[in-house]
Symmetry: C2
Subunit: 319 residues, 2 copies
């Protein structure tokens, strides 16, 4: 029988589930509305039923289950107090879904799942030291060292978005100031653009846009059209990101760095200044590290990452 | 027969060697002058003879050999172009000494050896996620994640001293500017004290000392005597170090952090401001991490670390 795992991506709006094989082919997938599960037991029942439907349609059994979720605690297999999900407290989703489906289950946060997805199915195939940075509403990261995810004592390692890059700088939702994700994320891009349009007289096609239209996509479009104001915002983000990546590389020494998610879609507009800053700030010992857009970009990366977690768990014998 | 390993600490002035057991007891040790070995083959022959003398005197065989050395490349078992050692090029010391003594041999840099020593013999016993920072002429670091040293793709991971904390800041020997070790190390302490005494009129018992007497020890003595100028230097160092440790903790999430080496001897004068800054800058997810002086401080830490590398290598089956 074909060896497959289930991958689940738990989001604030939708829960995606799919059957994935070792080569990263998604055989069948589905999406369920997160809001349709009033309680955590409802969620478990609903996800288990959804998974069974997929497996029955393919006449397959799943070897294991991988779950990517916000605020995932990998050591405990729980979702811990996720502000953007409707169920409160610490939720033992890996245990309960594993029991419902009779298969081993692992859970981790989205960025860690993306990192494993890159190693198993993306540009990190065959590599053992990677850094994957997810650039969306926030900035997440998954560090892989010698083929294994870095979880650390708390299981919350890899919080590159909350490295303080500007002491006393922009206020962060975490209660501190100057975190990297306040400078490098879609949220940061929009916030900084808005502030600067209000205080700066530079010409820009973004000027006069109503607030709700000043989005990351609009700023990206303006930059692609050559808008100097918008390009300068990407240049600054790239300079910040490149320095932060060079500093992170000094700690874990990856072979390759991948950018994934909304902002990574800006391609060279962000990659160019990021690489320039990275090279300028990198210690010579680490020369040769590449920064690329994730090969999962534009594919169903979150689902593939969750499935990669399941295969990785099986292969590590780490249940 | 008692299970022992050989530990070797290769330094610019002396090479120390010792027989160490699993409990961290040094049964017998010796020190050879580095300058007495004109060539790299002389070094290998001399170290092998020194090791044999120790083993014969104890009538023991060594299970394995661990070597701590500046610019150690753990993946290759070599010392790579160490500026402070007399032999040039890339030196396959682990291979050659292992062959001479007929035992498996591992080599790593001093800070990594210190980290393994802390985990096997020091305050990190039984812990799997540690960060050890060595504060001497420079600032070195060894990161242990899930019981294993972080080497990364290059094998040079763990260069916390070369994280850029002040873009455009103090010039570093690495060719860049603003590296942490230009602000936190004995060298930095002395350099900053000297500059500030020249440009600042504050009263200090250090004022008027001839250059050769303005040492780290003298500044530490002044601080212990309540000299405000000297205390302010330690406060600033602690503030920098605490922030850098909080940022590093966001990446690997250690359970405990240990400080080792010259500056760690300052005890609370440095630990106080370091902890205050660390707590202020730490993401709440990581609360509970302690910062302590290494338990190997004042013991023969470099030798113990090298022996720990040997036992760690045996236990990891990682030859």
């Amino acid at each position: 029988m074909r060896e497959v795992c289930l991958g689940l991506d738990i989001g604030g709006t939708n829960c995606r589930l799919g059957i994935v094989d070792r080569a990263g082919e998604i055989l069948r997938e589905d999406s369920l509305q997160t809001g349709s599960f009033a309680t955590f037991p409802d969620l478990v029942t609903g996800l288990a039923a959804g998974c069974r439907r997929l497996l029955e349609a393919e006449a397959l059994d799943a070897l294991a289950i991988g779950i990517g979720a916000p605020n995932g605690n990998a050591h405990r297999g729980t979702i811990a107090h996720a502000p953007n999900l409707p169920w409160k407290g610490e939720l033992p989703l890996a245990r309960d879904l594993g029991a419902a489906l009779g298969a081993p289950a692992w859970l981790t946060n989205d960025a860690n799942a993306a990192a494993l997805g890159e190693m198993l199915y993306g540009g990190g195939r065959g590599r053992r030291d990677l850094l994957v940075v997810t650039l969306g509403t926030g900035l997440g990261s998954g560090f892989i060292v010698d083929g294994r995810l870095v979880y650390g004592h708390s299981s919350f390692a890899g919080e590159l978005g909350h490295v303080i890059v500007e002491p006393g700088g922009r206020a962060c939702g975490c209660g501190r100031q100057g975190c990297l994700e306040r400078y490098v994320s879609v949220t940061a891009l929009v916030a900084i653009a808005r502030e600067r349009l209000a205080t700066d007289a530079a010409a820009s096609s973004l000027r006069g846009l109503p607030d709700e239209k000043l989005t990351g996509a609009a700023i990206h479009d303006a930059a692609r059209s050559g808008d100097e104001f918008a390009l300068a915002l990407f240049d600054e983000m790239g300079a910040r990101l490149g320095l932060a990546l060079a500093n992170a590389a000094a700690i874990t020494s990856p072979e390759k760095i991948f950018l994934y998610g909304g902002l990574a879609g800006a391609g060279e507009i962000l990659l160019g200044p990021t690489r320039a800053s990275f090279e300028r700030n990198l210690l010579a010992n680490f020369a040769g590290i590449t920064i690329e857009v994730s090969e999962l970009q534009g594919r169903n990366g979150a689902l593939l990452g969750a499935a990669a977690l399941a295969f990785h768990g099986l292969d590590s014998n780490d249940a």
